[in-house]
Symmetry: C2
Subunit: 611 residues, 2 copies
């Protein structure tokens, strides 16, 4: 290694970070400058990748967990010849791929970062994929900030990686001692971090993060360490190299006061080019082609929980497709992911009760081309909401399955009831939200999810519900089913999941009472089947929606989405959970929440006779 | 201490837990039995509280972070004479206070638990309040499970409590080695936990959790330890005392197979009563009465960011009211909570980048009677969504303030843009959601939030916006403002926050073009001002909603809430963010998202001329 050249490369990265932020008029140059030497040595001496084939599983991955250091990342790409100087200076401008925080608009960025504490847990998912799925020697390098070590998700990652002995994972922590508004908890006390990370089973190395020889040695030590991951705790100075900002408070997240002077102090512009170090050529056996899918079949009239149907369907899907993997948060007995675990133990990942790491690992795996199905209780997926939000920014393809939805779970009470999940996941950009009412429908939707795009959420129920659809019926994303209709319907009842069964009972009673009612099973909550809803609106002009969810953001609001284009809107009565439930039997809960057949009959009757 | 009696008390707690779960037909007796000796010794020998005055700040707090061990908690209350045997056997039945997981329907339960990993961070908030606000010698005891040590939020708590040296906090970890579906990561290796917790600055004690003398000694040691919190890592056996279930997999979360036999094996029913050990009588000086509130005043026409108005208003509120506290997640320079920190350093809490602990601490503080204001970026509050969900189950009164909302932040890009916050917080039971458009309105709403109930969310903006309301205008929760109207309005534009200013511009252009438009500033997104919306619907029959948020769950859906009772619904066109934004200037972002005055004019015009 030519250490003088590495020092020069570090200065070049600083210069380019300063220039990019100056051109943008915003950004985080000082947070880039602290880590410049760390990244110079990594790029020139240790990262093995072929930028021409970014999706090759033999490539190392580099994740900027401290995403705000994006100017440094883009300066690295410039040094590697992947972007030119003109593009570098488009940083943060409209239309540029060089966003304020990295996103996969650049082909070498596999996941978006910028919400702190996410890059390392995503890196754990990549390292698990490389080790257990891809079976390549690829290494995952994650540049972390010191501030983000306060995030619990980082410790979920340290624990999981330590437990799995992921020696293909290296965390490089840029300990520049200054956060957004002042000093971090531990300042430059890298020993404090080393004690903590070491206690979680990691190998730790403390270095001066501006000593290129020490950095080089640390990376070599990380690559040679077997049986456990390595954390390099590097003492650095924020804004390193420019006296106007170096190691000063109040210099976070803004361009340097005088970029020209700063570039001069850094020794001026350089034009070093770094040839990527390619990974060893290896045969990566292609995954087997999909085989025939034999979904489980359930008999109409039997009672089967949709969570059970999920477990059996995803296990069947795993049999047909070698790219399907499943992850669960230590509740696979309840979510029924255990069926997959039993049939495909090599592709099942027990993530324990750490929902952030659970979702992040799936994001990391899909970034390497795998198709993850993630399960926990619907309520507990809310723990990972920021990760799901960021998964959408990452353009991730991801299946989430939340069980134990709604008051219908009964005795366990409100802490276990997913009652905001439809709202939360509908409000994720590009998401799909599905809520099946029976076992055959569930199985079909589990299969349909596999090839959908974006974040797909499936809501399952705890209790057994009657099978109402035959095993050969097809269900597409964006569809619905009309379960009752006549030429004289006076009102439309729109239901999903457990309330479908109550709606059918209600419609039969309404018909007997001379108020024929249409029933729509809105199993695809997002996207909604607008055509069927429009037809029902034209026919009846009155809708009762009924959902085991808070009134906000769920089925009722989804129905309205179909009428947001200026067309006439049906009159609406919305039945939803409006008081805080306690413990009771499922039947008592549905009755208390006003979601049972009696409540639907009353609401539909009232609405049908409204002027 | 009479250790024989303590052992008997432990058996009584087991017997009552078994009986309660048996009567319910569900519940978690085995998870209760592992911790019975730990809790027997705590109740009889160390917990100092007066159950007759549960809100006395001199009381110790007992939090069941492993909320599923609720039968044990209720058995403790029975042993303390607070509930009788008849009520004990109502466990999990409709109407009972004894829910599946503890909630504040019982006066001695200050916070709901049942989503794992929350009790300890909430306990940190209680310990901070006791130490820094109440200034009482009260101790906070938190019973934790071993499975939940996988949750990152626990490590946020360990880090924060260690850093603060909270020696009034004790974590009692019931290491029964079995989770929901099998063994935990570390089994009975309490040393593995001790290394980790110890590295975070805690005193640790490893004991046999069924040895009452060892438990007693550990509690004494915890009480005598100064300068740091204590974690007691207790090896226990799940289902302890009943051979049919003890230390066996597959026995989680279900009643014992034969309760009668189990009770017999445990030595039969007992009727021991434990007199609460009262705290030392102390004078707790009453907090000063509220003084006059002098909110900041902003001049109409000036440009002020609503986040700046938040910071100055909450600082003023802190001056008038001694019960107001503020917490921030290491972004107080951006949220402007720094104004409070500067004026009231004793009541400001820097929680670093750990949003779960941030919100949990506030939940703990409000449980002891304080009024917390919690700030971070709107996007990053999504990190704590499960804590907010549980805060509602806890009946917590809590103010959340999310800054940097929407695409209008500009260059930082989508990772920093809160675009799902309105949906997420509207879907929290009993919540209030506010989104002011100017500085004086913000200040008024900050004051109004203080006395609202439940979870209150205020959304602030990064950029400066013109002050349009005078400093003496009043704004109530549930209100709105009509900014433009005439007798001939053809369409209503409903906006909030940054889009209000675009809507006014649009309305002025529409009026000039012969299409008079009403403009409603819907600053109270939940509850909505239904009367004003109904009046606008009657007058115009057509609504354009415009919001800097994804289309789902925000202002558009909030407007529909006012028409969910069967009345005629206006025709709607909804303008919202429909594509993934990148980096750009705020003006470019609003234009690209179709939220600027041009887009509003076009949409309103089209809708106004629709048949």
């Amino acid at each position: 290694m030519d250490y003088d050249r590495l020092r020069e490369l570090g200065q070049q990265l600083r210069v380019d970070a300063v220039r990019a932020a100056d051109a943008a008029g915003s950004g985080h140059p000082t947070s880039s400058m602290s880590a410049a030497d760390l990244m110079a040595v990594l790029l020139a001496g240790h990262l093995r990748w072929n930028p021409a084939t970014p999706d090759d599983p033999g490539n190392d991955e580099l994740v900027f967990s401290k995403g705000h250091a994006s100017p440094l990342l883009y300066a690295l790409y410039a040094a590697a010849g992947l972007i030119d100087d003109e593009e570098l200076l488009t940083f943060r401008k409209e239309g540029s791929r060089l966003e304020g925080h990295p996103t996969p608009r650049l082909p070498w960025v596999k996941v978006a970062t910028g919400s702190l504490g996410q890059g390392l847990p995503v890196g754990v998912g990549m390292a698990l994929a490389a080790r257990r799925l891809d079976r390549t020697p690829a290494r995952i390098w994650v540049l972390c900030g010191d501030s983000e070590l306060a995030e619990g998700s980082m410790w979920e990652a340290f624990e999981h990686a330590g437990h799995e002995g992921l020696d293909n994972l290296t965390a490089v922590v840029d300990v520049n001692r200054l956060g957004q508004r002042g000093p971090t908890r531990h300042g430059w006390d890298t020993a404090a971090y080393a004690r903590r990370v070491g206690a979680f089973g990691w190998h730790t190395i403390e270095i001066d993060g501006h000593d290129v020889a020490a950095i080089d040695a640390a990376y070599r030590e990380a690559r040679e360490t077997t049986g456990r991951p390595t954390a390099i705790l590097a003492r650095t100075r924020k804004g390193r190299g420019v006296s106007a900002v170096e190691d000063q408070e109040g210099k976070h997240g803004k361009p340097l006061p005088d970029a020209e002077e700063a570039v001069a102090e850094l020794g001026g512009r350089r034009n070093l080019r770094v040839e990527p170090r390619l990974p060893d050529a290896e045969d990566h056996p292609a995954r087997p082609e999909p085989g025939p899918l034999e979904l489980p079949r359930f008999d109409v009239g039997d009672r089967v929980a949709t969570r059970e149907a999920y477990g059996r369907a995803v296990a069947a899907l795993g049999g047909a497709r070698a790219d399907v993997v499943a992850l669960d948060g230590e509740v696979s007995d309840s979510t029924k992911a255990r069926h997959f675990a039993e049939e495909h133990p090599d592709r099942f990942f027990e993530m324990y009760i750490a929902e952030q790491q659970l979702v992040a690992a799936a994001v990391g795996m899909q970034a390497r081309g795998w198709r993850p199905y993630v399960s926990s209780f619907a309520a507990f997926l809310s723990r990972a909401y920021d990760f799901v939000r960021m998964a959408a920014v990452s353009r991730a393809d991801l299946n989430l399955v939340g069980s134990h939805a709604g008051v219908a779970i009964g005795e366990d009470g409100p802490s276990q009831m997913g009652l905001e999940d439809l709202a939360a996941f509908r409000a994720v950009h590009g998401s799909t939200v599905l809520y099946p009412c029976d076992a055959n429908q569930t199985a079909r939707l589990v299969a349909a999810m596999a090839d959908a795009e974006g974040v797909r959420y499936l809501r399952t129920s705890r209790g057994e519900t009657p099978v109402v659809y035959g095993p050969d019926e097809e269900f597409v994303i964006g569809g619905s089913r009309v379960l009752r209709s006549s030429g004289e319907d006076k009102v439309t009842i729109v239901a999903a999941g457990v309330t479908v069964h109550e709606a059918v009972k209600a419609a039969d009673r309404l018909a007997a009472a001379g108020v024929p009612a249409r029933v729509v099973d809105l199993y695809s909550v997002k996207p909604v089947d607008a055509a069927t809803l429009h037809e029902a609106a034209d026919a009846t002009g009155r809708f009762v929606t009924v959902e085991d969810h808070w009134p906000e953001g769920g089925v009722g609001d989804a129905v309205m989405d179909a009428f947001a284009d200026g067309r006439p809107v049906p009159r609406m009565t919305r039945l939803a959970v409006r008081t805080m439930p306690g413990s009771a039997t499922p039947e008592q809960e549905l009755r208390a929440a006003g979601l049972d057949a009696d409540a639907i009959v009353a609401a539909a009757h009232d609405l049908a006779v409204t002027d």
